[in-house]
Symmetry: C2
Subunit: 382 residues, 2 copies
C-alpha cells in the first residue's frame, strides 16, 4: 500500500490534501500539481528606506522604490520583489504597469517555468526588475511545491559560498568609520569610487580596517590612464577586483586597462543580460550578475554557465533589496567567485527572514524555495 492510500485509509486524507508543501510526497506529483489551479499574481508598491544616504559617483539617495510580489498556486505562495534604483530606468509606475499586463492565470502548471518565464520576458523588451520579481516568486513557489531550497535543487553546497562584501558609500571619515563598525559581520569591504577623492577614501578605509576591499568605480574614471593608475594603486591596498572603471561605451579603453591591470576588471553597468556575455568577454575579466538586471534566477543561472565556459570571473551583486531578493541570489552563490549581497542590511527595515551571515558568507536558510518568511507586522498586507 502506498503512503497516499495509507493516509486516506487512516482518515487523514483531508490533512494530506490541505498541506500544500507536501504535494511532492505522494509519488504522483505530476497528476497532483499540473491539472488543477491557476497561477495568481498580486503585488504592491513598497518603498525601501535606506539606513544611510547612498552616495555614488553620480547620484545620492535615501530610499529605493520597490514592489513586493506574491505568486500563488493552490494555496502555496511564492514571494518575489523588484527593486528599482533610478539609474536602471524602472520605477514603481513602470513595474506595476508591467505586472498589470501579465496574465499568469493562463498557466495551470507552475513547473513549466521556461514557458512561463519566456512569456513574461516577451511581454515587453525591458522591465528587467519587474521580470525578476516574477521569476523570483515563481522559483519560490516551485521550490515550495518541490519541497527543497534552490541551492539543493541546483546540486550546490553551501560551503562553496564565497564571503560577501559589504558596501560602504562615499562619505565623511566619521560616517565611514561608523559604517565599517556596522559591517563587522562581513570580511570584505566594497567601496564606491569614481570621484575626485578616491585615494583619500581608500586611505580612510585603510585607517579603519585591514580587511580586503573591492572597488566599484561606477563608470567614474575619465581616462584609461587614470583608471590604470587607480588599479595599480589599489592592487597595493589589498583590493580584489575593480568594477566598471569607465563608461559603458569605452570598450576599447577597458580592454586596454584590462591588459595592463594587476586586478581583474568586472563588468557591471555595461552588463545586463545573457547575450551581453559573448559581447563583453574580450573586454572584461568578469561580470557582476544582479537579479534585477538578469530578469531573475533562471537567466542568472544560465549566465554562470556561459561565463564559466569563457573562463570569466563571476560576482553576484544586488540592489538595495529586502532579504527576499538577497536570499534568491544566495541560492546560486555557491557557483560564484565573489558575493556582494548586502542590500538587505543597507535598508532600514527588512521585511523577510531568510538569510544569515555565517563567517562572512550570506547563507540562505534550509527552507524550500528561496527560503524566506515574511515578518509579521512588517511585511505589507496585500
Amino acid at each position: 500500500m502506498d503512503r497516499r492510500k495509507f493516509l486516506v485509509g487512516a482518515g487523514l486524507g483531508i490533512i494530506a490534501a490541505s498541506a500544500p508543501i507536501s504535494i511532492s510526497a505522494f509519488g504522483a506529483p505530476t497528476k497532483k500539481t499540473t491539472k488543477s489551479g491557476r497561477l495568481k499574481l498580486s503585488f504592491t508598491p513598497f518603498e525601501l528606506k535606506l539606513r544611510h544616504a547612498f552616495n555614488l559617483a553620480k547620484s545620492s539617495r535615501t530610499s529605493t522604490p520597490g514592489v513586493q510580489v506574491k505568486l500563488e498556486y493552490e494555496g502555496v505562495v511564492g514571494y518575489g520583489e523588484a527593486s528599482m534604483p533610478p539609474y536602471l530606468g524602472e520605477s514603481i509606475a513602470s513595474v506595476t504597469k508591467f505586472l498589470s499586463k501579465l496574465d499568469l492565470s493562463q498557466f495551470n502548471d507552475p513547473f513549466k517555468m521556461e514557458e512561463i518565464l519566456a512569456y513574461v520576458d516577451g511581454v515587453e523588451a525591458e522591465n528587467r526588475s519587474a521580470k525578476a520579481s516574477v521569476d523570483i516568486a515563481l522559483h519560490d513557489l516551485v521550490g515550495k511545491l518541490i519541497g527543497q531550497p534552490w541551492y539543493k535543487i541546483w546540486g550546490l553546497s553551501l560551503d562553496k559560498i564565497p564571503q560577501s562584501s559589504f558596501t560602504i558609500g562615499i562619505d565623511t571619515p566619521e560616517v565611514v568609520k561608523q559604517k565599517i563598525k556596522e559591517a563587522d559581520d562581513y570580511k570584505v569591504i566594497k567601496i564606491k569610487l569614481g570621484l575626485d577623492n578616491d585615494k583619500e577614501m581608500v586611505d580612510i578605509i585603510r585607517q579603519c580596517t585591514d580587511r580586503p576591499i573591492c572597488v566599484d568605480a561606477n563608470r567614474g574614471w575619465k581616462t584609461k590612464e587614470q583608471a590604470l593608475e587607480m588599479c595599480e594603486y589599489l592592487a597595493d591596498k589589498n583590493c580584489l577586483f575593480v568594477e566598471q572603471p569607465m563608461m559603458e561605451d569605452k570598450l576599447d579603453d577597458t580592454a586596454w586597462i584590462r591588459e595592463r591591470s594587476p586586478l581583474p576588471i568586472i563588468a557591471d553597468e555595461v552588463f545586463h543580460r545573457l547575450p551581453d556575455i559573448v559581447k563583453l568577454k574580450d573586454y572584461y575579466d568578469g561580470i557582476n550578475i544582479k537579479l534585477m538586471k538578469s530578469t531573475g534566477m533562471s537567466e542568472a543561472y544560465k549566465m554562470i554557465t556561459l561565463a564559466r565556459a569563457f573562463g570569466m570571473k563571476i560576482m553576484c551583486g544586488c540592489m538595495t533589496e529586502t532579504s527576499c531578493a538577497i536570499a534568491a541570489a544566495a541560492q546560486l552563490s555557491p557557483l560564484i567567485d565573489w558575493a556582494d549581497l548586502d542590500g538587505n542590511v543597507l535598508i532600514a527595515q527588512d521585511v523577510f527572514d531568510g538569510v544569515k551571515v555565517i563567517d562572512g558568507r550570506v547563507t540562505p536558510s534550509d527552507k524550500p524555495g528561496i527560503g524566506v518568511t515574511p515578518i509579521k507586522g512588517l511585511y505589507p498586507e496585500f
Copy 2:
C-alpha cells in the same frame, strides 16, 4: 501543529521515516537528508544485443558492451548505465575499473551534485561513459528524493519535445524496408551514410517513405567537394541536417562546407565535452549531445545553455542503450531542436520501462528522477 509532528503524534512516525521518497515533505529537508546515510555505488557488466547488425561507414557489430549501475542512499535507488560503442575507446573493463576506483561513500548528501560530479570527473581524464553512468544514477536518485522528474525540476514542458528520428543502418534494400516498417512510431528517419553507395541508400529510403530524413555521414566523406555535393543532393530529398560530414581534424573543410551547404552541419564525433562548443562554434552549425560523451545530464544541460548563447542548433543523440539512458536524455529534450533517441528500440531486449513514443516524440514518464522502472526478470540482479 506541523505535519511531521502530527504524524508522529498519531503513531505514524515509523511509516513517515521509512518512506524514502517522502523525505522532502516535512519542511526540514536539509536536516533530514544531509546528516545520515552514505552513497553506495554498485554495478554489473551488461552486454546489449542488437536487434539488427549495426553497419556504419567504418564498422559493423551485433552487440554493444554496457554496464548497469545503481546508486543507493537510505533505501532509495537511482539507476544509471554506461554504453560503450567501441569507437569511443571505452570497454566493460575500462568502465568497471573506473567505477571501482570511485569512493562515493565519502558523500553523505546526494544533493551536493556539483561536488560529487566534480569528484567523479576528476578521478580520471577520460572514461566519459563511466562518468555518465554515475551522473544518470545520481540524477535518478536526487529526483526521487525530491519527488519530481527532471524535466519538471528543470522547468520544462513535455509538449516542447521534438519528434525523434529512428536510425536505419546501411543494409540491403530488403532489410531497410523491414526496418522502416519497424520504425512506424517515428516521424523522422536517420540514415548513416559515408560509404560509396550513399545516393543508392537515399533512393531506397525514398522508395519506402516520404518522412523527413536526417543524415549522419559518420566522417565518411573524403573531400569537401563531395560533402557539399551530397548536402545539396540531400537538401532536395527532404533532409533536415547533416552530421559530421568529414573527419574530426578537417575543421577548415567543414567551415567551407557549412558556408555553402543548404543544410545545417552538426558536430558529432568531433564534439564531446562542454569546452568543445567554444572551439567548434565557427565551424559547425550545431552539436549532437550524447550523454555517453558529455559525462551525463549535468554537463549536457550546461551544453545546451552554452550552445544557445552562440545561436547553435542542438540535437540530442544516443548510443545503443536501454530505456535508462534514453529516459535520462528525454528529460532535457524539450530544450533541443532535434532528438535522435532510438537506442532502446535498437536493442533486442530492453530492461527498463520509462519512455513512450507519443506522436513521434520520445517522452519520459511522470515518475520522479529519470522516471524508469527496471523490468522484473529482465533487469540483471546485482
